[in-house]
Subunit: 339 residues, 2 copies
């Protein structure tokens, strides 16, 4: 097999979106390939590269939560962050450029994996409270670390659970992709919320949380500091957003105790997903302000959770308009009963 070419960003000549073309991704092992149910991943225990004792099967860690006095890349850890073996972006990508209609950019960046448990846990609701809290602490610490590289503008942090949701390995993990640009969906939220601030003087997310808690009909669960809301116009059935009640644009400001409170709420929510939707595949992703931004009055970090119980089809891909069959009010009633 010939060496795959370096990853690059390419811009669509008509619509202007950017994609990443990363040929070496096609070499990654796909233990959850195809249509395997979420828990078939249990059978991967024997070969799982993320389990404690197999530290040599990943690149060396860039961050870890481990007992004091134990060397890196050796057993004795609770959580590890390691570079992705099959990265979408690379620290020093070869120069790419385009001409005319065909614009390209080097896919410079960092692609990391957050390994969330030393043992082979596949369902995130089985993580201990401390393990779940540490996920969000790791997100915060990696945001702070990547902010040190001025070439990076923004960090995409997300979790794929189950093959249907795009996971290729079962062992609980998240992914971090630090990018040299602000991606489309974040840009869109920044513009939308900026327009709202100009029109009203307020943060649209703060108003949303306030309106939703007052109305009650789309509230899935809450804690003193956070609200879980069924998205009014979600692209997926049972799409749920988790937001801090107090305004904060930067996830980097999350305290350890807030991380524990967020983890508690997320775990309740995932248990409700499992009960109501029969252990569905799902994704979650963090939307937060770009790296090194000052606190923004219009933007407000949040997590979005999307169960993958239906597949977008020709209508969605062709029109950009998503077709769902469960209203946010129904979703909230179903989920809150088990939350």
């Amino acid at each position: 097999m010939t060496q795959p070419s370096a990853p690059e960003f390419r811009r669509d000549p008509v619509s202007g979106w950017w994609v990443i073309v990363a040929p070496e991704r096609s070499l990654r092992p796909l233990s959850l390939e195809g249509s395997s149910p979420r828990h078939r991943a249990e059978t991967d225990r024997e070969t799982c590269p993320f389990c404690q004792g197999r530290e040599a099967s990943t690149p060396g860690e860039t961050f870890a939560i481990r007992e004091a006095g134990i060397a890196p890349n050796a057993p004795g850890w609770q959580l590890r962050v390691v570079p992705n073996m099959f990265p979408a972006v690379r620290p020093a990508a070869a120069n790419a450029s385009g001409e005319g209609l065909f614009q390209a950019l080097s896919a410079t960046g960092r692609h990391e994996v957050v390994i969330e448990a030393a043992e082979h846990i596949v369902n995130p609701v089985l993580l201990s409270d401390d393990q779940f809290r540490d996920i969000f602490i790791a997100y915060r610490e990696r945001l702070l670390a990547h902010a040190a590289d001025p070439a990076l503008q923004s960090v995409s942090i997300f979790k794929n659970v189950g093959a249907e949701a795009g996971a290729s390995l079962g062992h609980c993990h998240s992914q971090i992709i630090a990018l040299p640009l602000v991606p489309e969906q974040i840009g869109r939220e920044l513009r939308g919320s900026s327009n709202y601030l100009h029109g009203t003087g307020r943060c649209v997310f703060c108003d949303l949380v306030k309106a939703e808690l007052a109305a009650g009909v789309r509230v899935v669960a809450e804690t003193p500091g956070f609200a879980a809301i069924a998205a009014y116009a979600g692209r997926f059935n049972h799409e749920t957003w988790v937001l801090p009640k107090q305004h904060a644009s930067r996830f980097e400001t999350l305290s350890d105790s807030q991380a524990a409170e967020l983890a508690e709420l997320m775990k309740r929510l995932l248990r409700a997903f499992d009960r109501v939707l029969g252990e569905p595949a799902y994704n979650w992703y963090l939307h937060a302000a770009p790296l090194r931004s000052a606190e923004m009055p219009h933007y407000h970090w949040h997590l979005e959770l999307i169960p993958r119980t239906a597949r977008p089809a020709g209508f969605e891909w062709g029109s950009g308009c998503f077709l769902t069959s469960v209203s946010a009010e129904t979703a909230a009633a179903q989920l809150s009963a088990h939350c």
Copy 2:
């Protein structure tokens, strides 16, 4: 079971996109549900509501290609268009409206199914040349018919093949959703191509076809009138666009002989998909000018084909940036060798 509420459009309060919430869609039968391979649909032959002789199991036809002198909704047809039993939009949806952050609109429109063969054919490459041509003639005729309703602004026409691509029935069919608005992806192409016209005086799609045919590296196949091009920045591996070489913004202008030529090219392309990708699930969708528009100098209708060989994951849904692993040049080399 209580009667589902009427379908409505809802607008995301931050990003501004519209979704359709259509609770009655959840009642539709899903014979391809879950992870069944594409051809398990063959087993649905005994109960298929689209087969000739079962005309009574669909609503009455709105268009048909059938032998002269045979009554509607009776055997003797080559192609039928019927209202979808589980519509995403409805001719007279109840009034919906929103307030404040929560904007809604009645999902007024038409949702139809194009049944492309009287016999139970599941793989579109097995349609005869005439059957394949008639698909595009039906698209044209329904565009012309829906243009008569001033409440409708645009028509989304698409095809889902295989459960992975969102199909719920195997029998060859397309879907038509006529909408009271111009959906996001079409709006985006209209804006992008309008900007290009203002900057250059030319149609970006015409320039694209010319540049691609000159470069050759992303050409999958061509006929005298059409080109099939691997999309430079496709969101999916092997995404392919089929465009007329002569400028035309309105699909309604397609002649019968152009329909036959387009069908021939599409069939070659689908055969190549089947050979190279192992009979993948896929979608195609038509991008064309809004209803009742005059010929537009900047816009250019085209079909986009997306094999569903990978599932967008948390990165794509969270960032809007798509991650692919096969470059357009590799895709074109693979597909053109079998086209």
